[in-house]
């Protein structure tokens, strides 16, 4: 045992390089995946199809439920969140400050979460939602194809999914993506709240 390098061949000394090439390949893939999944706007096979049926208990009145069919007639946003999810915490002020003023119905789906934690979370940060439902086992999440939180679905008055956002909303993508989509659905008074 004299030194870590030992008497090394060119191959051993190239090992760090090979490792790095693998890392770059992975990161390149990451960029490819991202452009593929965010820029081309086909993030979900659900777009243009009816939202999956769900009947889920309300967070504050678990004996009552809300189902997809009750929401027909007006467009709404379904925001998937969890008290365990730090990004949701960052998205929260944006929901309160920028999405709520849009006047569209905002449903919170508390996903894979302990309802008590969720209540505490809402108590601390505030409640921007018009209704809060819980999906403790994540069944509805599977139907919706949710694989991370936050995710947000825009569903129109006929119950068709029009748009899906993976990850948190930012001022930019509210302006560039969400507002035009809402405008399509609600027609004239859609400019309200636009910058």
């Amino acid at each position: 045992m004299s030194s870590v390098a030992g008497d090394s061949s060119l191959f051993t000394r190239l090992l760090p390089f090979f490792g790095f090439v693998a890392l770059v390949a992975l990161l390149g893939f990451g960029i490819y995946w991202n452009t593929h999944h965010e820029m081309t706007e086909v993030p979900s096979p659900l777009i243009g199809k009816p939202a999956p049926a769900f009947t889920l208990p309300l967070l504050y009145e678990p004996e009552k439920t809300l189902s997809a069919s009750e929401l027909l007639g007006k467009p709404y946003l379904l925001n998937v969140f969890g008290s365990w999810c730090p990004t949701c915490q960052y998205e929260h002020p944006i929901l309160t400050g920028q999405i709520k003023p849009l006047g569209i119905k905002l449903i919170g789906l508390d996903w894979k979460d302990d309802p008590e934690d969720a209540k505490r979370w809402i108590a601390q940060f505030g409640n921007p939602y018009d209704a809060l439902i819980t999906d403790r086992e994540g069944r509805a999440g599977i139907d919706f194809g949710v694989y991370m939180a936050p995710e947000t679905f825009l569903v129109d008055a006929q119950g068709i999914v029009r748009y899906k956002r993976i990850g948190m909303f930012t001022a930019e993508n509210i302006r560039d993506e969400l507002l035009p989509k809402i405008a399509e659905l609600t027609g004239k008074h859609a400019k309200k709240g636009a910058p």
Binding site: M1, S2, S3, V4, A5, G6, D7, S8, L10, R13, L14, P16, F17, F20, V21, L23, V24, L26, L27, G28, F29, G30, I31, W33, N34, T35, E38, M39, P86, T87, Q89, Y90, P93, I94, T96, G97, Q98, P101, R120, I122, A123, Q124, F125, G126, N127, Y147, M148, I166, G167, M168, T170, A171, E172
Partner: protein
């Protein structure tokens, strides 16, 4: 007009960076003194223009020039003047400019404080730094121009993200960047050594103080970020293993390994290839961190706008810099291990274990951070590993470090007498065990983690104190503590303090959410909290609902806390602002929840014992880094192995004076 001057300055800086990179390196290879001499003026020139560009962007913020798109997006008329300065680095474009500015500051420092180093080496080092600056300037100009106009000018801007409107955020990015950009200097020295083929130990000695200073800044930057997250996010946590936090933590871990490995290489000549590799890794991870933050491949709370063009550019740059340097390493690295032989029981072995553990920890964090990507790549879907993985793995990997760290300074180079060290450390062990028993008696509810924390703290802390006392007794006056050694003592002591903070806080924090009616008093964690209701408060650019809570102990008011829920005027964003009563042994932390019926509010109350120790420990480590870097040895002995006749210092190149090395410590 003025913003265009800023852009012009950036372009000039880019051109000078190209010169600073290409000509001195070529000159050093050819032995052309004229080209070598170009390096320092080029550094100065580039720095002037980068500083000018940065100054112009700051000026645009201060004068509220909303015709500059970046200014309009990140500030508004109501923003207080002090945040207009920090708003410069409040988003992507400006923080990139800050990155380049800091790189220039490092380059200027290297140019200024390298008079004793051969000119050809300095030319190569500055050339490598020039290459990095070139890449980042090109990136700024091509994909992220901070001076882009928005015409006609907007009447008012949007707002600086409210979570960034905080004094902690004025300091956090500059300190953090100073740290991880600083690793570029160690990197540049390593590449310069490889390019020049001068792989003796001289370059390591030159690089050491720079590495220590960079590491100290990085330590401070990370600690500031953690402290900021603690008191701003309203969540009471101090570390979230968020991808961007990890991005700064990985260079820190490898940097920690590097400063230890440099010590071995410089003093004993061993681990040469390893030190080269770690120098490359530390800076590569800084670049990787930049990539992860800027490219948006990982969804993160730090949410910089993601743009695939930016991602591709940085990836290409990362590939060039790191791939290129690893190839140079493969071709030029020493083929035969050098250095003095050492036995299994020796300080070298302990430092090797340190290196392995820290590098494994960095690899573990890298793996966890990239896990979502790996999941996609193998078609398993995007899966994340959270704090449970990181927390468990990190403690597992650090446990051997904590166990062995007191032996480090006591073990001698080459061959150590473990019995002597063990005898010396027995009091530390006894103290640690006694403290565990006392802690268990005083606080019967303390969890195992807390007890482990107490033991670790006493073991590491008194271990290092024992070492300091032995030096005091055995070393001759005036030679007791070199700055390098003092730095080590401080940093290791800091680790003990840090461990106490982490383990005790994690094990014994009290967290509760309570409904408070006006004037109601409740008891939490041995303290009484009296709720004085909520009123409106007006800030410079926000309105807030402000609660009042009096904290009482035995009927006496200890503190009055005023947590707020703020509504900012600009972007309409809301922000919870907690209030904290800080203390050495516990923090009381309150955050305002929601209004309930009859004037009652829900309030989140934390009592967090020892939480300050986390940052206090980090401060000790930082001071340790600075102190070690200040050692005169790095400056007084120039080690000009190629032209040793120059100065009056005719010492043999290898190990410096033995009395400083822990000799004569057999108690």
């Amino acid at each position: 007009m003025i913003p265009e001057l800023g852009q012009f300055a950036l372009i000039l800086a880019l051109l000078i960076a190209a010169v600073q990179c290409a000509l001195p390196i070529y000159g050093a290879a050819r032995g052309s003194a004229a080209l070598i001499a170009l390096a320092r003026p080029a550094v100065a020139g580039q720095a002037v223009f980068v500083a000018l560009a940065f100054g112009i962007l700051t000026y645009a913020f201060v004068t509220q020039d909303f015709s500059v798109a970046y200014v309009a997006q990140n500030s508004n008329l109501a923003l207080p003047w002090y945040y207009r300065f920090s708003a410069v680095w409040g988003a992507h474009e400006g923080s990139l400019l800050l990155w380049v500015l800091i790189l220039n500051a490092w380059s200027v420092a290297v140019a200024a404080f390298s008079r004793r180093i051969p000119d050809a080496t300095v030319a190569r080092v500055l050339g490598v730094l020039g290459f990095i600056a070139f890449g980042f300037l090109l990136f700024t100009i091509l994909t992220s121009n901070p001076f882009a106009r928005h015409l006609p000018a907007l009447p008012d801007g949007s707002d600086l993200n409210p979570i960034l409107q905080d004094p902690g955020l004025i300091m956090h990015p500059p300190m953090l960047y100073t740290g991880y950009v600083g690793f570029s200097v160690a990197f540049a020295f390593a590449i310069a050594a490889l390019l020049g083929g001068e792989l003796d130990v001289a370059w390591v000695r030159w690089a050491r103080p720079w590495t220590n200073v960079a590491w100290a800044f990085l330590t401070f930057g990370i600690a500031l970020g953690s402290w900021w997250a603690y008191y701003v996010l309203g969540w009471g946590g101090w570390w979230f293993w968020d991808p961007v936090e990890n991005a700064s933590f990985m260079p820190w871990l490898v940097g920690t390994a590097l400063i230890h490995s440099q010590a071995v290489t410089e003093k004993r000549g061993s681990f040469r290839a390893w030190t080269l590799l770690l120098s490359i890794f530390a800076f590569s991870l800084s670049l990787l961190g930049t990539f992860l933050v800027r490219s948006g491949v990982l969804t993160s709370v730090h949410a910089f706008a993601s743009d695939p063009k930016r991602g591709l550019f940085i990836l290409a740059f990362l590939g060039t810099v790191v791939g290129g340097s690893l190839l140079i390493y493969a071709i030029r690295a020493p083929k035969v291990a050098g250095g003095k032989p050492f036995k299994l029981l020796s300080r070298e072995t302990l430092l090797l274990i340190n290196n392995l553990m820290f590098v494994c920890a960095a690899a573990m964090v890298l793996l966890g951070t990239l896990y979502p990507l790996i999941g996609d790549a193998i078609g398993a879907g995007r899966i994340s590993v959270g704090p449970p993985y990181f927390g468990f793995m990190f403690v597992l990997l650090m446990a051997p470090v904590v166990l062995l760290i007191p032996f480090g300074p006591l073990f001698r180079w080459a061959s150590a007498d473990w019995r002597a060290s063990w005898r010396a450390l027995r009091p530390a062990l006894i103290l640690a065990l006694a403290a565990v028993i006392v802690a268990k008696l005083l606080v019967p509810s303390l969890a195992l983690r807390g007890l482990a924390g107490v033991a670790a703290t006493l073991w590491v802390g008194s271990g290092i104190v024992i070492y300091a006392l032995m030096r005091w007794r055995n070393a001759p006056r005036g030679k007791r503590y070199t700055p390098e050694m003092l730095g080590m003592i401080l940093a290791h002591f800091g680790l003990a303090v840090f461990a106490a903070g982490v383990m005790i806080t994690e094990a014994s924090s009290v967290e509760s959410d309570l409904r408070f009616a006006p004037n109601e008093t409740r008891t939490i964690g041995g303290l009484d909290f009296r709720f004085g209701g909520v009123e409106r408060a007006q800030g410079p650019n926000f309105v807030a609902e402000q609660g009042k809570l009096e904290v009482l102990r035995d009927g006496n008011i200890v503190a009055t806390l005023r947590p707020q829920k703020r509504q900012y005027s600009g972007g309409g964003m809301a922000q919870t602002k907690s209030d904290i009563d800080p203390g050495v042994f516990r923090d009381v932390y309150v955050a305002l929840g929601e209004p309930l019926a009859d004037g009652a509010w829900s309030v989140r109350v934390y009592v967090k014992p020892f939480v300050r120790w986390i940052w206090l420990g980090a401060l000790f480590m930082m001071f340790g880094g600075f102190t070690a870097a200040a050692d005169r040895r790095f400056r007084v002995l120039p080690e000009r192995s190629d032209q040793a006749s120059a100065g009056g210092t005719q010492r043999t190149p290898s190990p410096p004076n033995p009395p400083l090395e822990g000799e004569g410590l057999r108690a």
